[in-house]
Symmetry: D2
Subunit: 283 residues, 4 copies
């Protein structure tokens, strides 16, 4: 069993040695350690991957010791993740299919270490893809009138299937603050521009109008401020005057699916931490 | 002598065949032709490079025929450029030296087919670099009080040295509408962000605060709207949470000098056309 | 109906004007023209896209005139393609599924203007994917003993379904000279390295051993010299010391599928020409 | 004073905690720690940056303790570097000037934390650039007859000026095994291709002939096998059929200077380690 610990706390001298000493004493072998200090904020971040020795027996005991000896004195925010249980990922979509095809293909290839209990959509256009990959599909229409009711239905599903995190794979509805608060830094969106350029609707049209020479895509955690959440991953591709808006959209699709899947994989691997609306991405 | 013709006009059937036929009849051999139709605007763009046969004699005659037989009937905007005279390029700088070093190194290496009659600055910090490369340096201080007067001095120099175009190589003053109107699409600026993201002052600080994973630079023609002019060239580089603002600035310097020099070279080679605040960049 | 003409011939003065004049006289409106001169070889290449006027009636007549008035006197190799009939593309695979998933997803999304009459494999591992996308799947085992017989079966299928071109989507068998000669510049392969680096087997292992900082993928036309055919498209991604061979393979998969699909789309759009074992790729 | 420690040794459990505990006990505050395990080779690598507390007094004592308590028992190869003395870097050039201009511009801008005691060349073509930047220039001609003698002169200079490492900034002579053995992993070369593609002479010509769509540059440590040394940094840029060999060379120059300077900066910052002819590059 591989165990990943994520920590952040006020920066102070001796943390690394204290934490690594603790793990060593408690029969853990550190197979990976990376740290970062956010100097302006004076905050220390660390990701450690441990393999426990045969002599190790009790994870709960380890966790309570960690809290007592390290987390409390150092005022740490921390989490511990073991790889013996796959996280559950829900996919929300609307009408564009490229990100859904890509995620489900990767899933079937064994590239994503998750379970996908369902795909949810406000339309039925992509049901055949979920069917084709044999993933349950739920259709919850969404409009101005039924907004509250529809979200209630979503929450029932998310709870029933014990969803750990949500991927918005070109889901064209705004997610409510209520839902976000239940999945803090656990809703990943793909925005089809190089944020903060061209936030909001129709970014390819805006990019075309501005005459940029590079377009991009951004995967980010969803916060209440639209397209303003912590950025996980970005990538770009070149365009020229000879590309039409349709060309932008076609080229962009490839970016979107790659950038979204990279973001999802970093999240699954517990390589992301969020602080001050920014991410620390461990390699 | 190589002759380059740039044309744009309302799109209509038969233009290419009419223009190429005209050139052929008038003893020109087309060694390069590229065209573009801006569909939304219904405008046709063409760049042609010609080598004239020995039997050709009179460029002025060719130009008046071109105007009469083609430009007038097709309502063309056009220009013709020969390579027997180097364009004159003025460089404006303030305190950052990397773009100036880069441009002057390229110039001395024979990479830029221009003359550089002078470097102009509102500070004296970079005088030693102009001296080192043996380029005349003019210091015209610029402040709120002397703005009008200073610009008058600039204009005198630009006129006296018959400057064709201006390169703002990290020149930290806003250029007036008056100066811009005298050099329409002939002032090239480097902005240290991936426009339209982070227009205005301190883009690296803004990029750092937003937590982007990619930073960029943009060379563009200067218009009255700050950082809103037609984009010539853009490039980007990746950054991570581990990079400080100082790292952004250092990495950005390499982008800035490369992106500015590419923009300058495209302009010198007459490979740029401007329409509707966008560029057509011929390859 | 949009008509694309591809031409190459010895370079000589006046070709562009002659060809464009011919098209104009014969009721064609040129909506796109790009040309290239291979200086060392002294060969002229041109791609023209035409929309014919309502007054145009007879394509066969146009073609015979083109041959007579242009192709014969200028010693042109040329081809003409109309978009009223979709080309037929066969996909050959073995055991890796990412390129197949990607191609079939694009196909179902309407991104590839082809018909896919069948997927062929020397294994049955990927049959379920063809099934899932409702594409006929043929299994033709391949080994040292049955090589000649197996290829005969392939040729029967290719002929029966009137296949225009073949995509080797990580097909792990060497294609025979006989098959190649029947599909000259019409078999597209994806090689999982930045050719000519790491030609041959196990390129990711070789790249890992060499300690490169960038890995790549290459789509190319298949010729008798293994991994030596004309390159259509290449792309790369960065790697570091911290990436294992498995990481190279995972990162490479994304490159492979993107680079292969770009190559396939350029081929479908008739934007590729081959000369001297190199490609001209029109934009 | 900032102190950097580089370590590699056989991988074993508890190293990180042992080393960090040692540093903490000896009044060091770890401001940066990164580690890597080369799994196939079973070797552990670590880079630590320390700031010592005011209570710390004796670096020599620290070093002998480190050797005794850590390096000996764990069979470590290690080195310790303080930033109170600038390393001395010699630049070797021949006739191409772009890398020299770039390095000296960066040096004068304060971007490179080194001293540059001299530029050495087998030609006099670039003397004016060294003069212009006020760096001593030594001309040591090199030919088949005087090879041994010339290298002896080089070694005299390298010793006299106490050179720490050498940068071959497009130096077109092969460096002898004798010189390499005196500067192991301390001679940095720039090769104008994406190694291992196009090793040896005239890589741009070879790339042009092969029809690649991407060209690159590689900075690497020099070993006795030509162009086979450990790669520090690589980058690439796209090319098309429309680029001539001259265009390749011009585009390549920008790559070369950027990739060389990145390699040099990584070396200066002690972010590189070499093992099994590969580099570990700490970020």
């Amino acid at each position: 069993m591989k165990t990943t610990i994520l920590v952040h706390c006020p920066d102070q001298s001796g943390i690394i040695s204290t934490v690594t000493g603790f793990i060593h004493r408690n029969h853990g072998n550190i197979v990976y350690l990376d740290q970062h200090v956010d100097k302006p904020a004076d905050v220390f971040f660390m990701r450690i991957v441990i393999e426990f020795a045969d002599t190790f027996s009790n994870l709960d005991h380890f966790k309570s010791l960690f809290q007592e000896e390290l987390a409390s004195p150092y005022t740490m925010e921390w989490s511990l993740h073991t790889d013996d249980k796959l996280p559950k990922m829900a996919i929300f979509v609307s009408k564009y299919n490229h990100c859904l095809y890509d995620l489900l293909s990767r899933y079937r290839s064994g590239e994503l270490a998750v379970e996908i209990p369902f795909v949810l959509s406000n339309h039925t256009d992509l049901k055949h893809i979920a069917d084709q990959f044999e993933i349950p599909f739920f259709h919850i229409p969404f409009n101005k009138q039924n907004r509250v009711e529809a979200e209630k239905e979503q929450l029932v599903l998310l709870e029933k299937y014990e969803i750990d995190f949500i991927v918005l794979a070109r889901y064209m509805q705004i997610v409510s603050g209520n839902l976000i608060s239940k999945f803090p830094n656990r809703i990943i969106n793909i925005h089809h521009s190089f944020l903060p350029a061209f936030a909001g609707a129709k970014p390819y049209h805006a990019a075309f109008k501005r005459g940029v020479k590079i377009i991009g895509a951004t995967s980010h955690y969803v916060t209440e401020e639209l397209d303003e959440g912590p950025i996980i991953e970005q990538d770009v591709t070149t365009v020229t005057h000879s590309h039409s808006i349709e060309d932008f959209i076609t080229k962009g699709r490839d970016l979107e699916k790659i950038v979204l899947s990279r973001g999802v994989k970093l999240h699954i691997a517990r390589k992301t931490m969020v602080y001050n609306n920014k991410t620390v991405i461990f390699s």
